[in-house]
């Protein structure tokens, strides 16, 4: 890296003490499609709207929710290609952790390592910050957990959170509807209703994506048929 002409960081402080590039990255996130996550008493649900640029796009080829390990999944708001890079790196880090400690990586550790990668890109030469915010959902020995990671590399644990276009409305909605002892199925209904709030157009099983993790610790992305069942329950 040292020999290149861009061995200086492109993310520099402004006189007011802000890192303007990170602010811009957050703006990019804020104009991305809405995604949200809810931590229930016995699991976590993450969901996102999957608006495709045209009806001709094959929606089965687009996967916005990905599994990082068998018990940890992630969804994003922002730039899809940046998300793919982070998913690849996180998966590799989870494998390396396993090979080193022969223990499946705890959710907090994976979040920390992913956040460290995102921070590196705000302080290295010739690179720009990632234009995504991640919602990482997992279930390990410390129970169900939901974390949000920002382009700056800061991470927070949430009981329920939303990101992207409709964030303020979605968060208000979640604040009203969230209860501590929610069951996972209630959480899924709440998630669908929250997405419906800000959705422009008709919500259906093909234009939203939902990922859940129950106490069996198996992260799975719901199929369109399963989403349809939940949608019908909500109606």
């Amino acid at each position: 890296m040292g020999d290149s002409q861009y061995s200086f960081s492109l993310t520099t402080f402004s006189p007011s003490g802000k890192l303007v590039q990170i602010e811009h990255a957050l703006t990019a996130v804020g104009s991305g499609q809405t995604s949200l996550g809810i931590k229930a008493a016995n699991g976590v649900v993450i969901a996102t709207e999957k608006k495709l640029p045209s009806i001709l796009v094959d929606e089965t080829s687009v996967q916005k929710i990905q599994a990082l390990t068998p018990n940890i999944g992630v969804v994003y708001s922002g730039m899809g290609p940046d998300f793919r890079v982070l998913v690849r790196k996180s998966r590799k880090q989870a494998q390396q952790y396993y090979r080193l400690y022969k223990e499946t990586i705890p959710v907090t550790q994976l979040v920390r390592e992913t956040a460290a990668v995102m921070q590196e890109f705000t302080q290295s030469g010739g690179v720009r910050p990632f234009g995504v915010s991640l919602l990482i959902a997992g279930y390990d020995d410390n129970g169900p957990q939901l974390y949000q990671v920002d382009p700056s590399g800061s991470y927070f644990s949430w009981k329920a959170s939303a990101m992207g276009k409709n964030v303020s409305n979605a968060k208000t909605f979640l604040e009203k509807r969230y209860t501590e002892d929610m069951e996972l199925d209630d959480a899924i209904h709440t998630a669908i209703l929250t997405l419906k709030e800000g959705y422009e157009g008709q919500i259906s099983s093909n234009n939203i994506e939902i990922g859940i993790i129950r106490s069996d610790r198996e992260f799975k992305v719901l199929s369109p048929a399963e989403i349809k069942d939940f949608l019908e329950e909500v109606e």
Partner: protein
């Protein structure tokens, strides 16, 4: 079968040319010149064939071979733990740099010097001295292994696990150096998991096979792992053997390890196509038992693994033909009077025993 590497021919030409030109004055030391690449001459059993590796001095080791596209690692004195350290080093840094393959030659000169001058005996490694087998039956693959790990003449582990997990539908038996088989199977298992995430599909046996053989070939036989790899994927059941130098075979039945001849004799006489699951397990157990009873390097119990489409059963300690029969199950009891008392001497301890109230003496 001696193979002549293409690089050997070009090296001979280089040597001839260098001899013809005569000794050249040192080109480094003048401003603006870099020192020439260091070249290591590695002792080979055949003095006519020299393999030269040029290592560029840039702080990072990039091992390049003169005109040989594939050449990498050679170590005069392999240390299984050093090789392992290279294999399991976690990747640092945020950028996905291309992996720097090959052996780290830093300590080779020192090892050579220690061996020659100070007569240091290079430590041996734990070999498994094993019987491992595999066969293809009607619905899938059956793998079998014994459970003895030897360290020379000593049994180091009476019940070790030689059937390693690669993927939910692929298992691998390992013979050779225990550390090498463990490390190599763990590494490939990890790579297969990443590949499954990237593709969203079940792993194929040939993928595991290719990852294993490329790794072993890269290390030119110094990673002493002889494997029997079996599994069932979307293209059907597969069984392969992998040798330490990186060659592979695809077979309907296979045996490896020091007990392979005993096991192969059983297979050759009793194997037939289209065995049922029970017949397959019985035949594998029989082959491993042949190895256990006729080979000193194999012993203890029989482990079996049955892989079919969609289901894998790992039958740990399927047979226990060597139980410990010399221990009394009732335990030992010695009644009073069985030991003859020859003499008695009673020494009084000091009558004044002071109990100190020491609450602060013990610090946590």
């Amino acid at each position: 079968l001696t193979r002549v590497w293409p690089c050997e021919l070009s090296i001979k030409r280089t040597l001839k040319r260098k001899k013809a030109n005569g000794p050249t004055s040192p080109r480094w030391g003048k401003p603006g010149t870099k020192p020439p690449p260091r070249s290591f001459l590695l002792p080979q059993s055949n003095p006519d064939s020299l393999l030269q590796l040029h290592i560029r001095d840039s702080g990072e080791q990039q091992i390049e071979a003169t005109k040989a596209p594939l050449l990498v690692a050679l170590a005069p004195s392999p240390h299984s733990d050093q090789v392992r350290a290279l294999v399991t080093r976690p990747m640092a840094g945020s950028m996905d740099l291309p992996t720097k393959g090959g052996f780290d030659f830093g300590l080779c000169r020192r090892n050579q010097m220690l061996a020659e001058k100070q007569g240091l005996k290079i430590p041996g490694f734990l070999k498994t001295g094993t019987t491992i087998v595999g066969l293809v039956f009607k619905d899938g693959v059956v793998l079998g292994a014994d459970t003895r790990a030897t360290e020379g003449p000593i049994v180091a582990d009476k019940n070790c696990e030689k059937i390693h997990f690669m993927a939910p539908n692929i298992y691998c038996c390992g013979a050779g150096t225990a550390a090498d088989t463990e490390a190599v199977t763990d590494m490939v298992s990890s790579q297969l998991q990443l590949h499954r995430y990237a593709t969203g599909r079940e792993s194929r046996v040939v993928t595991a096979l290719t990852l294993l053989k490329s790794h072993l070939f890269k290390y030119q036989g110094h990673v002493s792992a002889a494997l029997v790899l079996g599994g069932v994927d979307c293209t059907g059941p597969h069984l392969h053997t992998v040798y330490p130098h990186g060659s592979t075979d695809t077979l309907p039945f296979a045996t490896m390890g020091s007990g392979s001849l005993a096991a192969m004799s059983v297979f050759e006489s009793k194997f037939k196509e289209g065995l049922t699951r029970e017949e397959g397990i019985e035949l594998v157990a029989e082959a491993i038992s042949a190895g256990i009873f006729n080979d000193l390097g194999s012993g203890s119990n029989v482990d079996v693994c049955v892989i079919t489409k969609g289901k894998t059963e790992y039958l740990r300690n399927h047979l226990l033909p060597n139980p410990r029969t010399y221990n009394s199950s009732k335990g030992y009891s010695f009644t009073k009077g069985q030991t003859e008392i020859l003499s008695t001497k009673i020494t009084q301890l000091k009558p004044n025993v002071e109990v100190a109230e020491g609450g602060d003496a013990m610090e946590e």
